[in-house]
């Protein structure tokens, strides 16, 4: 069972991964350990999870402008999410992805969806993000 959502490609690119869904805004400075890909903040609803290879889904970014440096380092170390999907443009994270593309020719695609569309993505759903901002979602088969 798969369906399609249409968003805006803020950083265009293609990627596939299982959704890691958070309902909280995040700053990656203090919110992501680039050495391990882990979320270390005890106040975060996905504390302890590893973002590496996942499509990280959350409402919007907040806080420190150092977050782009964290994302750049995570991309260099290959601990970054496969893609980032949000309900608002996240310029600081987009910047980290764009600088990584300039420096290493690698980027994390970023797509912005409407809030209602974002809310339809479930944790663990299989997502593919396309350069035009389209996202296909396959919900893991529950055996029906």
């Amino acid at each position: 069972m798969s369906r399609t959502l249409h968003g805006k490609a803020v950083v265009p690119g293609e990627a596939t991964g299982r959704a890691l869904v958070s309902r909280m805004p995040i700053t990656l400075w203090g919110g992501l350990n680039p050495a391990t890909g882990e979320i270390p903040d005890p106040r975060h609803d996905r504390c302890g999870e590893v973002v590496t290879g996942r499509v990280f889904v959350f409402p919007h970014e907040k806080g420190s402008s150092t977050a782009s440096a964290i994302l750049l380092e995570a991309i260099r170390r290959e601990t970054a999410p496969a893609a980032i999907v949000t309900a608002a443009t996240c310029p600081i994270l987009a910047l980290g992805s764009i600088v990584a593309d300039e420096l290493y020719n690698r980027r994390v695609p970023m797509v912005v969806l409407s809030e209602p569309d974002l809310a339809t993505i479930g944790d663990g759903d299989q997502l593919t993000v396309f350069p035009d901002g389209t996202i296909t979602i396959t919900v893991p088969d529950s055996g029906s």
């Binding site: 005890p42 806080g63 782009s68 440096a69 750049l72 380092e73 310029p91 600081i92 910047l95 420096l103």
Partner: protein, 421 residues
């Protein structure tokens, strides 16, 4: 809509002004698409945050630009760096870390940046003027420049800041434009007595309260006293930009774009109004602490953002109030500051006095970017809402928030001791 580039922009993007300028303008142009800006604009000053964190990628980025001969086109200051360049050996910093941090610093200085190494650039050299279009990084500096000085900047993250400095250009959007500087959310302080409004710890806790309430919106605060000091507004803004994404606030009768409520909202209506009570403030104050009264502490961290001359004065007075008692043997009291404040303090007798009290002063850096907090540290205390917010995830510690005076008292007692509430 495609991005309109000036002739010079296009020459930079085509590599005619060197590979560094090409890469810098490419980052700016791609970010213009992110912001949905249709053209670029000039900025006349920059403040670099990207020099602060030491990572392999950040070092490679800076050294790549410097090796390509990048030069800043506008006066550019540096945020605090990953190393106390003079005293790092005193703090037992690893040689390899220090060598890389020094290389990163040298790369930024080679590009022509002024070695201010401060996260409080508004209290030092090259303070921007009202209405000046600037490109500043560091969330607390951004909110101060926009709100208190009335200069105009978006929140420039690592590493668009140096790209703006190299090109002198930014996407034309956001808080650079008058209409986007209008207040959106009205915040009314109801029932706060003057004594509370005068207390320094009122401001970081208020920032911690308002930040998450407004997110990225521009709050207009009614009820702050006109006598609020620069240090108090700095502490407020730093906390609001940590717990939320505040890049500009107006305080009616206090900040320059808010002589009246109408002016702050540019004649529009607030999208919503929030009344805050002392009980709300008290809850935010408590939320800043995870360490309880009486809990032993190993460190007290002051100077987030970097300590000003006046904050040193208060620290000295608080130390004197201990009447000869000094910092507890189990506690390190660390004050973070910059060379501009420090140069003024050197003209007083305070540094000797603070050394005798047991306080350590460190320049150019902060505990989040240089390894001065031992990994086994369990609990710290701070007077900063920003430090209290970031310490648990970044330093892996429990934290107690309190006034500067209570921080000093706790440093002496060796445990969280808060007198005034």
């Amino acid at each position: 809509m495609p991005l309109r580039l000036s002739e010079t922009d296009q020459r930079m993007l085509d590599g005619e002004m060197g590979e560094a300028a090409r890469m810098a303008l490419s980052v700016i142009a791609r970010m213009a698409a992110v912001y949905e800006a249709d053209e670029l604009m000039d900025v006349t000053q920059a403040h670099i945050d990207g020099c602060g964190l030491l990572s392999e990628a950040g070092l490679q980025f800076a050294e790549t630009l410097a090796a390509q001969g990048a030069r800043v086109r506008i006066p550019t200051t540096l945020n605090m760096g990953p190393l106390d360049l003079q005293h790092w050996r005193d703090f037992g910093i690893d040689e390899d870390f220090a060598a890389k941090a020094t290389r990163q610093g040298m790369a930024y200085e080679a590009m022509g940046c002024v070695p201010t190494w401060s996260c409080a650039p508004y209290q030092g050299y090259l303070t921007p003027r009202f209405g000046q279009q600037i490109a500043w990084g560091e969330s607390n500096a951004v909110v101060y420049a926009n709100s208190v000085l009335g200069a105009r900047t978006n929140r420039y993250g690592d590493y668009i800041d140096i790209c703006a400095a190299i090109t002198g250009r930014v996407p034309r959007c956001g808080l650079h434009l008058t209409a986007n500087r209008a207040g959106q959310v009205l915040i009314r302080l109801a029932g706060f007595d003057e004594a509370l409004l005068a207390r320094d710890e009122f401001y970081p806790a208020l920032g911690h309260l308002i930040g998450p309430l407004v997110g990225e919106a521009v709050p207009v605060i009614e009820g702050l006293p006109a006598a609020a000091t620069g240090d108090q507004l700095k502490a407020f803004g730093a906390a609001a930009a940590s717990a939320g994404a505040v890049a500009l606030f107006h305080a009616v009768g206090v900040t320059p774009e808010a002589p009246t409520r109408e002016a702050a909202f540019q004649g529009r209506q607030p999208s919503r109004t929030v009344d805050l009570t002392p009980a709300d403030w008290q809850a935010a104050w408590e939320d800043l602490s995870s360490a309880a009264d009486g809990e032993p502490i190993e460190m007290v961290l002051l100077g987030c953002p970097h300590f000003s001359f006046e904050e040193f004065r208060r620290l000295v007075e608080a130390a004197r109030a201990q009447a000869g008692r000094a910092v507890h043997q189990n506690v390190t009291l660390l004050v973070h500051t910059c060379t501009t404040s420090h140069a003024l303090v050197e003209r007083t007798g305070w540094l000797d006095e603070l050394a005798r009290f047991g306080a350590k002063v460190t320049l150019d850096t902060c505990p989040f970017h240089t390894p001065v907090v031992p990994p086994e540290t369990k609990a710290i205390m701070t007077d900063s809402g920003k430090c209290a917010y970031y310490a648990p995830p970044e330093l892996g510690v429990r934290v107690a928030f309190g006034s500067l005076e209570d921080c000093v008292l706790s440093a002496v007692e060796g445990r969280v001791t808060r007198r005034a509430r």
